[in-house]
Structure formats: C-alpha cells, structure tokens
C-alpha cells in the first residue's frame, strides 16, 4: 500500500469550541492570546485513513461532532491539534444553499454559489442549462428565490453542488426534497458523480441513504471515533451503542429528525442605507 493510495489522512484531530459571554472575552480570544471562554470539546483524537476511491459515510447523532469533522476535512476550520492531509483535488459541499439570497433570482444565486465553489466563468456558462434542467427550474431562472416553491431553492442548490465532481468529494446535505422520487433521483445523481476513482465522504443523515452510497462507515459518538468498518456493521454498531445519551428522550432513529429541514433562506440583513 503506497502512500499515493491514501486520499485523506486524519491524524489525532481534536477540536473544542469556545463560547463567550462578554465582549471582553471575545476580544481576549480574538486579539490577545488570553482565552477565558467556556470550552466544549467537540472532537477528541480522531484518526483514520481513507483510501483513494473509497466511499465513506460518517455516522453520528446530531451534535456528535460529525459536522465539525467534515468541516475540518474540508479545510474550512482548523483542528486545535492533529493533522489532516488531503491528496488530490477536493470539492466539499457543506451547505447546499451556499450564499443563497431570497431576494436574488435563481440565476444570480446560481452564479454566486458556483463562484463561491471556485468555478471559472466558462464553467458557469457551460453548466447553467444542465443545472437548471436537473432542478426542473428552467422556467423560473429569472424569478427570485422568494417566489420559489418550498424545496425548490434546495433543489437548485443540490443541482449545483452535484454538477461537478473531483478527485475527492465531500457531501453534507439533504438527499431529498420532500418526495421519495426525488430521493431516488438525488442518490442516482450522486452515485454517478462519485463513480469510479472518486473518493467520497458524506455525513450520513439517513442511514438508508448512506447504505446506497457508502461501503464503509465511521461512527462518531460524543466526539470520539467509536467504530470504523463496513457500512452495514457500522449501522449495526450505531443502532446498538449510540443512544442519545446526553440529550433526553430522542430514542427514535435519527431518520425522522433530519427530515424537518427548515426552509430558512437566511434573508441577509437589509443594508444600512440611512442617509448621511
């Protein structure tokens, strides 16, 4: 097993978040080296390797730390300690409505999101039709997202997010917009995107979705890596051992809780345009 085989190498990654009650604490943290905030450990000493071409699902309850882990692999936030090494081109989708603004048209939102994902202007032009076609929004291109039906902005975001693959593709987002048919369409589109050599890592929100996409499962529970192996075994382990211990009675499988995806297109705050 040569080194080139490893696409993602995660070594002893730990992360804690800090909360600040007062501005003074914030200033201390940000500007001086003094850190007086309340620390909450999110990840503790996570290590694993992902080989080139592997399809991996990260399984965990809400607030288990899997989202933080995804963001660290994506390189958006840095671990407090430990290292992440990525070999190859990386595309990471951590939010499917990236940069979306309800007051802008579908087309403008398309341009903003693709730009934020680093597409070139040629790519943006070239893929426009196929993205809107997939999202079934070709006729609504020039309408603002505010006028879109429920779920349509997410559909557009998903279409953009899954239009282009890369050597390594990270996905943390929804895989359906209401109906079962869309769920199937989404999974098929993702399967096609990550086909072959693509290394794929997803944050599993529905265990059944993960089963169709992933061969390997990594279970994160309360900030620790508790299982790493074949996906089906990971699901078994997760079901048996990972109750929502710290939080109260949410014993139902998380299959349900995720569906309540709310549609809050964060309407960016109106500009301060008071005169003079």
């Amino acid at each position: 097993m040569g080194k080139a085989e490893t696409a993602i190498r995660v070594r002893h990654v730990s992360k804690s978040y800090r909360q600040y009650k007062t501005n003074m604490q914030k200033i201390g943290f940000l500007l001086l080296k003094r850190d007086t905030g309340i620390r909450t450990d999110v990840l503790q000493d996570i290590s694993f390797d992902i080989k080139k071409g592997e399809k991996v699902g990260i399984i965990g309850r809400q607030q288990s730390g899997k989202t933080t882990l995804m963001r660290i692999i994506a390189g958006v936030i840095r671990p407090d300690s430990g290292k992440v090494k990525i070999s190859g081109g990386l595309t990471s989708i951590l939010e499917v409505r990236l940069g979306f603004d309800a007051a802008m048209t579908g087309l403008d939102n398309y341009k903003v999101m693709t730009t934020a994902l680093g597409w070139s202007s040629e790519m943006i032009k070239e893929h426009e039709d196929s993205v809107f076609e997939f999202a079934k929004l070709t006729d609504e291109k020039d309408e603002t997202l505010r006028s879109y039906k429920k779920g349509a902005p997410t559909r557009l975001g998903f279409a953009i997010a899954t239009e282009m693959g890369n050597d390594i593709y990270l996905y943390d987002g929804p895989l359906s917009f209401g109906s079962k048919i869309w769920n199937k369409i989404c999974i098929n589109r993702l399967l096609k995107l990550i086909d072959g050599d693509t290394t794929f890592v997803m944050s599993v929100n529905k265990l059944a979705d993960g089963a169709k996409l992933c061969g390997r499962g990594i279970v994160i529970h309360e900030g620790e890596l508790v299982f790493d192996g074949p996906y089906a075994d990971a699901v078994d382990y997760f079901r048996k051992n990972c109750r929502q211990s710290s939080r109260k009675k949410e014993t139902e499988a998380m299959n349900e809780e995720v569906e309540a995806e709310q549609e809050d297109l964060s309407d960016s705050d109106e500009e301060n345009s008071d005169d003079m």
Binding site: V76, M104, T105, T115, G118, S121, S273, M276
Partner: protein, 267 residues
C-alpha cells in the same frame, strides 16, 4: 508582516474575476427591487447636489465661485459630492460584508481577504458612472479637459485603497462588538459636515482637516477638476494622508492576522 500583506494583495489580484462576479450579483440585488434601480442610485447624489447647490449658493455663499478655481462653483461642489457619495456608501454599509456572506465564509475555503473588496467593487459601478457624469458636466459648463485630469485614476485608486482598509477594519471590529456599528453610524454625519464636502477647507490648518482622509480624497478630486493642482504639490497633506493609510494598514493587519483563521468558526 510582509508575507501576509503580499498574500492579501496576491489573493485580491488572483481572485479578482471572482470578486467581480460576486460584486455584480450584489449590485443587482441592491437595485433590483425597482425597475429603474440604477437610475435611482445615480439620482440620489444628484438630488443632494442640487439641494446643496440651491441652498448654499442662494443662501450663505451668494453663488460666488471658490477662489483659486478654474470652474463654476457647481463643479467644485459636484467633485466633492461624488467622492462623498462613494465613501458614504461604504462608511457604514461595508461593515456587514462578512456577516452578509456568512454561509460562504462558514462553508467554503474562501479567500477571506477579498470579501471587503467585493463590497467596495459593488459600489464602484455607480461611482464610475458618477465620475462620467461629472466629466460631462464639466464639458457642458465650459470646463475643458486638462492635463490635470490624468491624476484622476490615481485618486480613484487611493479612494479604493482607503475604503478597502476601512471596510476590513470596521467589518472585523463589528464581528467582535455590534457597538462599533452604532458608533460609526453616529460619526458618519460628523464626517460629512467636518470633511469639507460643502465648504472650502483649502489652506486650513485645523488637524481635523489635515489628518482627515475623507477630506483629502474630496480635495483630491477638486484639485483635479477645480483647482488644477498636482498631487505632489501639496506634499504635507499627502504625507498626512499616507501616514493615515499606514496606520489603517497596521490596524487592518493586526485584526486580520488574528481573526482570519477563526472567522469560519465565529461568524
């Protein structure tokens, strides 16, 4: 220190096409709610100009031209208002630039030093149109293009640098404390009245005018259009301005260096 500064400059150049696209989207968003959006953006400063012109020329100035100028009072006033309008747009409005792009900052590896530039560039379209109108007005009123107009791009560049630093400082500071925004809103009016947008500050030695970058930039446009003075002729004022820019660079550097890595977490 210099490696970070070079990186920021490099990022801003390398990502300029990206910046331009995002700025264009922002511009469209700002003016899309009305059919004549861009028209209103230009009408607004026009109205100010007319209002002040009428009020001041018939009021306490009696319509006399400013001494030392080669142009009517109207052009002198317009040159200042064009500058003020661009600066005022970003004095407060730029401070929310990171917050407004929260979802992008939090979820992608975005070149964060370009975010203030997006805010500046998005306001530049209107600014450039205003400058075009100013030039047309000059010609209509018999003030012919002169060699002094060549320094116009230089003053535009200085204005952009000043605003980029200002937006970076205020946006990062407003993440730490929302009070900063209120503070800037409060001093904005003071800046307008005390930067010599409406009255002649040429030759005054009050430190508020000599150390005030906004005053300097407005005077720069007037030197170009109204006084016909080269930028290097007012050496002492130029030095004051450069010192202010250096101070702002230092503040922006300190804030950005400490906060860049943490922005995705704390926004």
């Amino acid at each position: 220190m210099f490696s970070l500064m070079f990186r920021v400059i490099k990022e801003n150049i390398a990502y300029f096409p990206q910046t331009l696209r995002l700025a264009r989207a922002e511009l469209k968003r700002t003016y899309m709610t009305s059919d004549f959006g861009m028209f209103w953006a230009i009408m607004k400063p026009f109205m100010y100009l007319l209002m002040f012109y009428v009020a001041i020329s018939s009021g306490f100035r009696g319509g006399k031209d400013i001494e030392g100028t080669v142009c009517p009072y109207f052009i002198w006033l317009a040159a200042g208002i064009v500058q003020w309008q661009f600066i005022a747009d970003l004095l407060v409005g730029g401070a929310s630039c990171y917050n407004r792009r929260k979802s992008i900052v939090r979820n992608t590896k975005f070149p964060l030093s370009t975010v203030p530039m997006i805010a500046v560039v998005s306001k530049m379209m209107v600014y450039l149109i205003m400058i075009g109108i100013l030039i047309l007005m000059c010609i209509f009123m018999g003030v012919m293009p002169s060699i002094y107009w060549l320094q116009l791009p230089l003053y535009i560049a200085l204005t952009v640098i000043f605003l980029y630093l200002w937006v970076m400082i205020t946006s990062l500071m407003s993440i730490i404390s929302a009070d900063i925004l209120e503070f800037i809103k409060t001093i904005k009016t003071a800046f307008f009245w005390l930067s010599g947008i409406l009255f002649n500050v040429k030759g005054r030695t009050n430190p508020f005018f000599t150390w005030n970058p906004i005053s300097y930039l407005a005077e720069g446009f007037r030197n170009t259009f109204a006084y016909h003075i080269w930028i290097w002729e007012e050496t002492s004022l130029l030095m004051h301005f450069v010192v202010m820019l250096l101070i702002m660079t230092a503040v922006a550097y300190l804030l950005f260096r400490r906060m860049e890595k943490r922005l995705p977490e704390i926004l």
